[in-house]
């Protein structure tokens, strides 16, 4: 029995760390004071767990931001990587009653889903005032469900870009394309003639194909149709979808246009296609978002010199600007969790993060001067100035069974389309069948 009390104390401490009330503050404060020289930090001894999908470089960048938060407040933040499938990671934890304090959701669709499950906590007034100060109403809407604000967009991704390798363009005498027809007929053809594969596709990761589709669709069908399709108000068998798929088939249908043909592309995971362009120098262009800058740097190319960016060319009347982004939500209502989200939504937190490569802030008060490269500065400007005109990634707005699951729905059918680009009608019917099932729920 002599040994029991310390055990009990440890258990109690653990329970206190998990619970969220202010009552654990003094206890935690005391133990911290005993072990370390205490400073007047408001959250000393508080532990916050944050879960996000980032790994590798993106995780390292984010952990620097967390470190800044720890230094400022004295709280301890643990990072948990959810892997690519955030839903699969969070689902069981929510069901088990043990969600992380803060989660970064890669899809706004999940905000709605988890809000329906009552797994989210409303944001505190401090966080809301940060949002009002730093964000346009469009972003606020994205993080809301049922009129209540649950999430704040902490990281934006610019998905309407084509990265190219200057060396390959010089060798072939190819030029940046101003329109889709230019891209296919001139730029890509010139590159293919010179013996370099024009495109490297990461088609084993289904979302890279949905991004391509969204750019082509937004551009050729216009923003209104885009919104309708995103809400499934028009079917996937709509002629506007046919047009977009036909344009994609101009790439998918030509073996010479993709590194390794369609079979090679379908075995290539993200971000290997970036390495294929900049590391192995086997291909000339990769249609990817701004966040591949980290992989580009890793492949040994310098962004702005060897690695250049052109805006996704118009395939119709609209200049496409498709954004992705990660929404931070509070899952356990603790002081530490709200404070962390407040920090991430603030100008201060955004500027720490902005100094890292591969980050783009949707926060309009984060000065573009913080970004490490000229290109990112321009991108940040375009997003912020575009305001309401941009569109959010459609597959991320769809139910995840349709727009975000490996081997299902849109991911699967676009991969099948790449494998056999002739059967456009058949693909559209399959897309529509799965969409009807997923949206019907």
């Amino acid at each position: 029995m002599r040994k029991l009390p310390p055990v009990v104390a440890i258990l109690a401490l653990a329970a206190a760390a998990c619970s969220n009330s202010a009552s654990d503050n003094p206890a935690g404060g005391n133990s911290a004071a005993a072990s370390a020289p205490a400073e007047a930090k408001p959250l000393a001894g508080v532990t916050v767990e944050i879960a996000a999908k980032w790994t590798g470089d993106e995780q390292a960048s984010f952990e620097k931001v967390l470190k800044a938060f720890e230094e400022k407040t004295g709280a301890k933040v643990t990072y948990a990587s959810t892997g690519e499938d955030t839903g699969a990671y969070l689902g069981p934890r929510i069901q088990g009653g043990n969600p992380p304090d803060v989660a970064i959701l890669p899809q706004p669709g999940l905000v709605q889903q988890y809000a329906d499950q009552k797994a989210l906590k409303p944001l505190s007034s401090e966080v809301l005032s940060q949002i009002d100060q730093n964000y346009t109403p469009y972003w606020k809407e994205l993080g809301s469900a049922g009129g209540q604000v649950y999430g704040v967009l902490v990281k934006a991704a610019h998905k309407s870009l084509i990265w190219y390798r200057q060396g390959a363009f010089d060798d072939a005498g190819a030029q940046e394309a101003a329109s889709w027809d230019d891209l296919i007929g001139k730029t890509a053809q010139t590159l293919a003639d010179s013996g370099t594969a024009p495109f490297a596709l990461c088609a084993a990761s289904g979302w890279t194909l949905t991004d391509l589709f969204e750019n082509v669709y937004l551009s050729s069908a216009g923003p209104e149709n885009y919104d309708k399709l995103a809400k499934h108000e028009i079917p996937w068998t709509d002629p506007s979808v046919t047009t977009a798929l036909e344009k994609m088939a101009q790439i998918f249908g030509k073996k010479d246009f993709m590194l390794g043909g369609s079979s090679g592309a379908l075995q290539t995971d993200f971000p290997t296609c970036v390495t294929q362009v900049y590391g192995q120098k086997k291909a000339a262009m990769v249609i990817e978002a701004d966040f591949v800058a980290a992989s580009v740097g890793q492949s040994g190319a310098k962004v702005g010199e060897e690695a250049k960016i052109m805006p996704f060319p118009k395939a119709g009347d609209t200049e496409p600007v498709v954004l992705g982004g990660d929404v931070g939500v509070v899952m356990k209502d603790s002081k530490g969790a709200q404070a962390l989200l407040e920090f991430l939504a603030s100008k201060e937190g955004g500027e720490v993060w902005a100094k890292e490569p591969g980050y783009l802030s949707p926060n309009r008060n984060v000065s573009p001067d913080n970004y490490p490269s000229e290109l990112t500065k321009q991108l940040a400007q375009t997003i912020i100035s575009a305001g309401e005109a941009v569109r959010y990634d459609m597959s991320d707005l769809a139910p995840s069974a349709f727009g975000g699951t490996d081997g299902k729905g849109e991911w699967k059918h676009l991969q099948d389309f790449l494998r056999d680009p002739k059967d456009i009608k058949g693909i559209q019917q399959k897309l529509e069948a799965d969409a009807a099932k997923a949206y019907g729920k």
Binding site: D85, G87, A88, G91, P92, Q113, D170, D171, A172, G173, A174, Q189, T190, A192, D193, S194, G195, T196, A203, A204, S205, G206, D256, G260, S263, G264, L266, Q267, T268, D269, S400, A401, G404, T405, D406, G407, K408, W411, K412, Q415, L418, R419, K441
Partner: protein
């Protein structure tokens, strides 16, 4: 004891085995022989009394089968003896008390989840709408799920058989070599690697690029020793109306036919200028006969006049050129290093100049292991790598326990090694082989990690198996736990017969 020994020897067939074993020497080997290799038929069939606890135990999962089974038997024994007064063991109350913890754990972790899964499988995704058997119907109507069932059938038919056969081969072959332990250790090593890590390893093994994937590296090396391509893979004519030559079924054919005395220009593209940097510059062919030039019409950095030989452009040497008239090849020649070719002595008439596709064949690049057609065999290969060593160890243990003298006797009586293996070793090992096989079947039915890791996202639907589909549907984005539960129950129903079979075996062996 001697009776028992005669049992296993009987399948050997001939009287040579039975006759050669004298009684006394048996006594030492008999106890060892009887435990792993009981006589196949007689004793089990003749003891109906002991079968009563089996139906109860058979509904339990294999993991818990051993311990509760034996304790239950122990508990059941005393009352069966009947006489109340002369009870030797503990009282039934005591027995229940001792059983209670195990029963509670089983109930909480096995019975309740199974019952709740059955219950949940009758409801829809949200969990509040009763749908009856719809989820089960969906398993057999959805084409994606049918693929998973088909894949599971392939797995069950192929994988356990190969694993058992390989294990048997390794066990028999390693039995008599000097470094048997080291060899077995190496073969058993993959078991020490987690399936996830094994998956990552094999994802690399199956890479398409022979520079990365070991499987394709081996295949291409073997292939290239027998035939190697010496052409210009990827070279092709320009794709527009002004190009003098076009692709026809892989061959490059001139658009207009030529006459002897004329000159033909065949510009090709699609190659990097660097690839032919050492070739001499292309030049126009001289006159005489039917002549022409095949060259790479690409200038580094762009520019140059299309379809004309520019200064920096290189000739393509060593290309086979055919002169075709009326669908028949009239003459064949090869281009010189500067790309020029000459046909001499052609009779008058008009000819199509053709560069057969053998000039442009892509180098053999191995197999597309991770493509939709080969993915399941490829993953089964990885599975075999992991489990063959395990099967070998089990079978080797059985092998060391079979009576040596039976083998010796057969050899003395003039049986060949193959006959000994086929007629003595395999029949004596049959019970062990069966256990290994059935264990593998159960194991294969729930295969998950290897498929999840090795198959790239684009071929996951083609490689999918029931266990993976179950997880994906319920947690991996599908969010439909009703359907997931139905799949789980379906999987349980598939596994159950094999489990019952295995438990029966174990119980028989215990006696």
């Amino acid at each position: 004891m001697t009776e028992r020994l005669n049992g296993p020897q009987a399948p050997g067939g001939d009287d040579l085995a039975a006759g050669a074993s004298p009684g006394p020497t048996d006594a030492s080997t008999a106890p060892a022989a009887s435990s792993p290799a009981p006589p196949p038929e007689p004793p089990a069939g003749t003891r109906p009394a002991g079968d009563s606890p089996e139906p109860r135990a058979s509904s339990e999962p294999p993991a818990s089968a051993q311990s509760p089974g034996s304790s239950e038997a122990a508990a059941a024994e005393p009352p069966a003896r009947g006489a109340k007064a002369a009870r030797l063991g503990p009282s039934p109350k005591m027995a229940v008390l001792f059983l209670l913890p195990a029963l509670l754990l089983l109930a909480a972790w096995v019975i309740y989840p199974i019952v709740y899964s059955i219950f949940r499988s009758l409801y829809d995704a949200a969990g509040d709408g009763f749908v009856g058997l719809d989820n089960y119907l969906a398993i057999f109507t959805d084409s994606g799920t049918l693929t998973t069932i088909r894949n599971n059938i392939i797995w069950v038919v192929v994988a356990p058989l190969i694993v058992t056969v390989l294990g048997l081969m390794f066990a028999v072959l390693t039995e008599r070599i000097r470094w048997a332990t080291a060899f077995k250790l190496v073969l058993f090593m993959p078991m020490a690697v987690s399936l996830l890590a094994a998956g990552v390893i094999f994802r690399l093994v199956y890479e398409q690029d022979p520079d990365k994937g070991v499987a394709n590296a081996v295949i291409t090396v073997v292939h290239d020793t027998f035939s190697s391509s010496q052409g210009y893979p990827g070279a092709r004519p320009r794709e527009n109306d002004e190009a003098p030559a076009v692709l026809k079924g892989g061959d490059v054919v001139t658009r207009q036919s030529a006459q002897p005395g004329g000159q033909v220009l065949i510009p090709l593209v699609g190659l990097k200028p660097d690839a032919v940097a050492k070739a001499p510059p292309a030049k126009p062919a001289g006159s005489g006969g039917l002549s022409g030039t095949v060259w790479l019409d690409v200038v580094r950095g762009g520019g140059g006049t299309v379809n004309q030989i520019d200064d920096a452009e290189k000739g393509l040497g060593g290309i086979t050129v055919e002169a075709v008239a009326d669908g028949q090849v009239k003459a064949t020649t090869e281009t010189a290093a500067d790309g020029t070719f000459y046909f001499s002595g052609l009779s008058a008439g008009s000819y199509d100049i053709r560069l057969p596709k053998s000039n442009f064949e892509a180098p053999f690049n191995g197999l597309t292991w991770l493509g939709p057609t080969l993915i399941t065999p490829a993953i089964i290969g990885a599975y075999i790598w992991v489990w063959a060593g395990f099967a070998m160890v089990l079978i080797a243990a059985g092998l060391s326990a079979i009576p040596r003298d039976a083998l010796e006797a057969a050899r003395i009586d003039g049986a060949t090694e193959w006959q000994v293996f086929r007629r003595i070793t395999v029949p004596l090992l049959a019970p062990v082989l069966l256990v290994v096989f059935v264990t593998m079947v159960i194991n294969v039915l729930k295969v998950f990690d290897l498929v999840f890791i090795i198959a790239p996202g684009s071929v996951q639907p083609q490689a999918n198996v029931i266990a993976l589909e179950m997880w994906r549907v319920s947690f991996g984005g599908g969010g439909n736990q009703g359907m997931g539960s139905a799949l789980a129950i379906f999987l349980l129903v598939l596994v159950l017969p094999f489990m019952i079979f295995n438990i029966r075996r174990f119980r028989r062996d215990e006696r």
